[in-house]
């Protein structure tokens, strides 16, 4: 998939460590962004959901060691879109090429897990992934 160039775009950045307790700091950051950029509640909900799903996946599964790692979140405000970029140095993983969950029609056959990537794809308008310099870069676009 084409990975568009945002090098010169205005952005806000938050760096967190790979601990689930850091999600509280992400929530505070999102609240500040929502005020500064006057984001409506639906956009904030989508950003919140994407970050929750993406970050908990990275924190839970991306690292094969017990070391501390940095996860970088970039927020690009744009006239038409909000662009979110999440960068981690975990093992190579493209979330957007994973097979979707098979349809689950009964509770008996349903699995409790595995819905995170589906939610990221469903609540965003476009998704991109790039492996660069031993890092995963996931980018999503949300129309305003």
């Amino acid at each position: 998939m084409f990975f568009s160039n945002l090098e010169k775009a205005e952005k806000q950045t938050l760096a967190i460590s790979n601990q689930s307790a850091e999600l509280a700091r992400v929530a505070e950051w999102l609240e500040q962004l929502s005020i500064e950029f006057q984001l409506n509640d639906d956009i904030v909900f989508k950003i919140d959901l994407v970050l929750n799903e993406c970050l908990i996946n990275i924190i839970s599964y991306a690292y094969r060691d017990q070391a501390e790692h940095t996860i970088t979140i970039n927020f690009y405000p744009d006239a038409d879109h909000v662009v979110l970029e999440v960068i981690d140095d975990g093992f190579h993983f493209n979330p957007f090429t994973r097979e979707p969950l098979p349809p689950q029609l009964t509770l008996e056959s349903a699995t409790p897990d595995g819905r995170g990537i589906l939610l990221i794809k469903s609540f965003t308008d476009n998704q991109e992934y790039l492996r660069l310099n031993n890092s995963n870069i996931m980018r999503v676009y949300i129309k305003k």
Binding site: I56, L107, E108, A110, P112, R115, L119, F123
Partner: protein, 115 residues
């Protein structure tokens, strides 16, 4: 995340969740929610009206308990999810697994038919 519960006069267990059902919220209520819903045959009404956010780990909590109830012959229904929370439930297929209502009386009636 806060969890309140009561047994209604009709014998149904009414659980009200309040706050964000994200990873931290799910961790806060998981043990209590599972203990209330999965330990015996019962019919459970889970009121989501004051849940402002739902992520997949919250869905995990709901489905895990609904499956355990189903195994014991009980039933769980969801009540009054806010629009964005309903979108998450619907998109992830939960509404086809756990009946979801926007009317208290209808939700109670659905549970009593099964009891």
């Amino acid at each position: 995340m806060e969890l309140q519960h009561e047994t209604l006069e009709n014998g149904l267990l009414h659980i009200k969740l309040i706050g964000r059902l994200d990873v931290l919220g799910a961790q806060e209520i998981d043990i209590k929610f599972t203990a209330l819903t999965a330990s015996k045959k019962t019919n459970v009404l889970v009121d989501l009206g004051q849940v402002s956010f739902l992520a997949s780990l919250g869905i995990r909590t709901l489905i895990t308990s609904a499956k355990a109830l189903d195994n014991r012959g009980g039933l769980m229904v969801l009540l009054n999810p806010q629009p964005n929370v309903f979108n998450v439930l619907d998109t992830s297929g939960v509404t086809s697994l756990i009946p979801t209502y926007f009317d208290f009386a209808e939700a109670c009636a659905a549970l009593q038919i099964r009891s």
